[in-house]
Symmetry: C2
Subunit: 165 residues, 2 copies
């Protein structure tokens, strides 16, 4: 395992192991490319299932949060989903137009939007309850593998967040 590049880090992100500068730029060795491609593919597989609920994947994530807890702010929602208002504001407006979500104002603090579900939004949860099962069937794989994947993604996410100072 030759290393032709001085390397003050013992570890690697975009290479499978310590390799030459050239091998490090090889697509095959890029961890991040695998992550990126898997995430894209995942959204693609969700799409036909979510089409039936008239939701996109990011909209589905918002609904997951609101099915758990209503009356939260855009900020709180963004903290949970790691998304900002530039993404969420237009997305929430689309959910409002579809009649799934209401965007009220806090009486205590006029700046904050209070997000809630309409009855249609609440009702959607019943249809959505099939989705995890359908995804399971579509993709298969051992539960332990998926748990491991989730654990590694969560760990990577933690480090990536930390590296944004």
């Amino acid at each position: 395992m030759a290393t032709t590049q001085p390397n003050t880090c013992v570890n690697s992100v975009d290479i499978a192991k310590n390799v030459s500068a050239d091998d490090a730029l090889c697509l095959e060795n890029q961890v991040c490319f695998s992550l990126y491609s898997a995430a894209n593919a995942m959204v693609r597989v969700y799409r036909p299932l979510l089409d039936k609920l008239d939701l996109t994947y990011p909209q589905y994530l918002v609904m997951l949060v609101l099915w758990e807890e209503q009356g939260i702010s855009v900020k709180t929602l963004g903290d949970k989903l790691f998304l900002d208002s530039g993404t969420l504001t237009p997305l929430l407006k689309r959910l409002e137009v579809k009649g799934f979500v209401t965007r009220g104002r806090s009486e205590q603090d006029e700046r904050v939007r209070v997000l809630a579900l309409t009855s249609a939004g609440i009702a959607l949860k019943t249809q959505a309850s099939e989705i995890p099962h359908l995804m399971r069937c579509k993709v298969g794989g051992e539960a332990s593998e998926l748990q491991a994947l989730k654990a590694m993604c969560d760990q990577a996410l933690k480090k990536l967040h930390a590296s944004i100072d």
Copy 2:
């Protein structure tokens, strides 16, 4: 570990293990959300590094491919990156405007674009050679962990692709 939902699949995608329909819709249990968030965070961490090369992350991926092999078609590029012409055509035009890439035509088949690098595009590889190292330092973590993450993403990608019939 009670299962309140009949389940013909032994495995799970969006839940950590066999759980109730309600727990399956819990954001905390969603493997795909972890994948999605980690991929977003990864692109965010790349951004300041790639800004210096005047590249976005998807543009960087295209350059990685072209640094390995020039003269390929949009189709071949798309097969390698799992992206279609709707994504690549405008992206390649932007790389052309920046002066990194040329978009010629095949003489054998007038339909196919033949992608090549300009001298500026080739020169960029030298600057890019630092990026894997810089990402490694930014994120840290054991090489074996990253290898494992890559392996699991590749496996997931394979299954996700297969599930699109």
